[in-house]
Amino acid sequence: MLSIENLSVVIRRRGREVAALSNVNLRVDAGEVVGLVGESGGGKSMVARSVVGLLPGGADATGAVHFDGADVLRMDDEALRTHRGHGAALCFQNPRGALIATRTVGRQLTDRLTTHQAMDPKRAREAARELFEQVGIRNPARRLDAYPHELSGGMAQRVMISLATGCAPGLLIADEPTTGLDVTLTREILRQFRLAADADRRGVLLISHDLASIAAVCDRVVVLYAGTVVESGPADQVLREPSHPYTRALLASVPDIDGRPVVATAGAMPLMRAAPDDCPFAPRCAHATDTCGQRRPPTMPVPHGSGDWTLACFHPQSGPMTAAASTLRATAKTAAADPTLQATAKTAAADPTLHATAKTAAADPTSTTAEAAPAGPTVPGTGPVGPAGALTKDRAAGAATPAAGTPVLAIDDAHVVYRSRFGRGGHHALRGVSLTVAAGETLGVVGESGCGKSTLAKLMLGLVDPASGSVEVAGQRYAGLRGRKLRQLRTRAQMVFQDPIGSLSPRRTVGDSIAEPLRALGVPAAERAQRVGAVLDRMELDRSILQRQPHELSGGQAQRIGIARALVGRPELIVFDEPTSALDVTVQAQILKVIADVAADSSRGSVFISHDLATVRGFSDRVVVLYLGRVVEEGPVDEVFDNPKHPYTRALLASAPSLGTGFGGPRVELTRDLEEADAATGCPLAARCPFVTDRCRSDDQELQPYGASRAACWRVPEIPALLKGSDIRV
């Protein structure tokens, strides 16, 4: 149905040229789900835009996009209008932004139905209601009259899918359809696309960076790197035993809930200025030879493969993925593949910062799990540096190094309420959370969006005040402190933010940002420079980066800077708030490695907050599961992941995507989408739990010890029996 042949897209803007796609070949047949995967900047969205004839201004495309025999690139306006929607319909990445705010979603759907299916308005409304029901919108007749701002994120994504299918397209294209959705929803949304292929015989092109999620629904997978197709073939082969070194590196970078080690690949995807005449991955590749740097590998069938499994590599790999198989090597010509700074991969002027990373990666290809990470401050830069005078000064500022095991954070029954400015009520974000973190310990915090993770992070840092309860950092409470004392206590707890570039002041240099905690502590300039240098070394960054502005940094560099800033004041506690969720997969692996190293310091406690269970498993000692502002389960990491007590934890684990074995035990599926109002009385999960009884609805649940962990559910002892007895899908 769709056949992209030799498609190249070059974008010219303000005197810069970017080769977004180079000689891409791709096919999608009716009834087939094809996954288009790769990291951002790889050209995934450009493929989607080409298919619907939405090339941006300044773009020059060569090649052909054949759709049912016609070339989309060369269609006239009239033909293109029919093709868009009826031929290929795009589901946009940000569904709420892709719905026009001033028209009801029902009208927007009937617009499509009347345009492409020639329905009269009355028939269209009826069909719209059916479509809404199909994509799992409860109360469809009422939702037709809703405006987009009245929908939740998951609901908006369902509406977006119904809009696309309402065009009755031959091909459905989904651009990152599950970004920003929780795991439980992700599975449901992806199921819709599988359904469209199976039930309606549509072709589906599923664009995603999240390999683990789409693995289950795709028939075939196409892997893009720097605008080129590096590998394509049947999903189970490509995702289980990939042949291209990049695909292997990509898969090895994904943390998995089974706790297998993550392997980091140095460098980042280059930004191509022209179609490459060598292998764009060669500078990062452990198997690269001289040939890879001289010629572009042609696309050919995988030697040991079958069917239409092809790759573009001179050195195809075989065999199942293991950590050892992707051992990293830093070649002498380690390319500075930083997309923001480097012109092409060809001009491999080695960026010293990344070079350093590559070397260490080569020296230490071990996993990033907590067990494997070295204990104690073995890396220079954490130990006391500088003259004795500086040390005394530090102590005066309240920076005595705690011994391992002493608590550095204690939260006791904290409630946080965000009051609306006018009127009563407000949003009850945390409802009685108690936890402690000791020096040398890493606490993982997991939960879906809206469960209070970010509020908890802000609470730990004193950025929000608890309505009741207390927060103690390094033995001191934020409450009651003012002015200089408060500012000094604040430097004892530091945060690493979700948005690495956004957490750096846009008009300040990197050096300014890192040194800010020291300036606030009154550290003299000479010592400041020395300490900043020490943390830079630890982050394996070159000093030249100090003069840069945040917008010149790549995400990975910016997050290293963020960690450096958190470290420089030698705090007792570092809170990592979703530190890798904004990063690409291979960069995420690099940063996770750095974080594991930092979290292993015995002088400090760490809190790692994430919606992604797999990354939390990687290096936490203990885990806390949050649900609607309450802790529902708490315990040692392996116990919680292998033997979850609370039904919610079990449901989370069961729906977590996995490329490996995944969650082994019996599964629990929750019955509805999360709703804020559930938190009011009784067990907050009552509305969604398959094991709910009247007692759950009426009684508040307290954490109770069950074996090595604690859970807030009175039915825990009965659950193994319930799991066996019920016919819950596995």
């Binding site: 030799n6 773009a59 020059d60 090649g63 052909a64 945060m495 956004g502 300040r508 800010e516 800033r565």
Partner: protein, 297 residues
């Protein structure tokens, strides 16, 4: 089998090799044209005003007793007004006053407005309430009306005019910077700075201020043009610069009675100068705006 097409080899058919242009809008070039033209106009006018003594053959308030309402030509390039003063020479000298007052007033408005907006936006609470209610009262009037009232009450004089025009413009800047500061306040780098132990003043000065000024940079040039129009309007009504002094609005006012009689040269040229000069600011502002928009997209 090697797929030659992937390597861009001879498998490529001729018709698919021809590049197809994207149909999306590109934009951005016109912005540069606007900025260049605007800046050129302003440079020329500024230079003309500075070097007025070299370009003018009469003094700005020099009376030629032999020529009253003389038509253009001869020693009076653009004729004379009803006082016998040379229009061309006065036009050049007037640029000094018009540009000077407008730019000074906007600069003052930006400084005052920014401080108020920054403090209100970042601190919030009652400080914000009090400051913004004050701004509300100022903004309960159309700006020109407010300028009229303040100018009438303060009386004329260069400093008073600067204060008047600054005063009526400052509230808009306060609002603008406040809105910006409020959104900047929610950004993660502010939290990062607070947890780094920075003082409130440090956060304001080092992080909130530099990141709240973007809209001000775009609005200020447009505002300079508007300030010139306000000044000229006030003078035209007799509330700004008084008549013998060379100022475009006052010159138009002086030429007002001649229009009905068909004598165009006393009022049309000063208006044209004013229009071109304001247009320079408008072009510059529009260009900057478009560039900022393009960057945001």
């Amino acid at each position: 089998m090697v797929d030659l097409r992937a390597a861009g080899g001879p498998g490529e058919s001729a018709d698919t090799a021809a590049p197809v242009k994207g149909r999306g809008v590109r934009g951005g070039r016109f912005a540069n044209v606007l900025i260049v033209v605007g800046a050129t106009i302003l440079t020329v006018v500024t230079l003309a005003a500075i070097f007025a003594p070299l370009l003018a053959n009469w003094g700005p308030e020099e009376i030629d007793p032999a020529a009253n309402l003389a038509a253009p030509g001869g020693s009076h390039l653009l004729g004379t007004d009803s006082n016998g003063m040379d229009i061309w020479s006065r036009l050049l000298y007037a640029g000094r006053l018009d540009l000077g007052i407008a730019v000074a007033a906007v600069a003052l408005a930006v400084v005052v407005g920014t401080i108020v907006g920054l403090v209100a936006g970042y601190l919030g609470g009652w400080v914000d309430d009090v400051l913004m209610r004050l701004v509300d009262i100022f903004q309960a009037f159309p700006t020109f009306i407010l300028a009229l009232a303040v100018a009438a009450l303060l009386g004329n004089g260069t400093v008073n005019l600067i204060i008047t025009i600054a005063l009526v413009n400052a509230p808009a800047y306060a609002r603008l910077v406040r809105a910006e500061a409020r959104s900047v306040r929610e950004l993660p780098f502010i939290d990062a700075s607070v947890t780094s132990g920075s003082s409130t003043f440090g956060v304001l000065w080092r992080h909130v201020l530099p990141n709240s000024l973007t809209p001000v940079r775009v609005i200020a040039p447009l505002n300079c043009g508007w300030a010139m129009l306000t000044l000229a309007g006030l003078s035209f009504l007799g509330l700004g610069v008084s008549i013998p002094t060379a100022e475009w609005g006052a010159m138009i006012s002086l030429g007002n009675p001649d229009v009905v009689a068909g004598r165009w040269w006393t009022s049309v040229p000063p208006g044209l100068f004013l229009l071109i000069c304001v247009l320079g600011f408008s072009l510059l502002g529009e260009g900057l705006q478009e560039r900022a928009d393009a960057k945001r997209r």
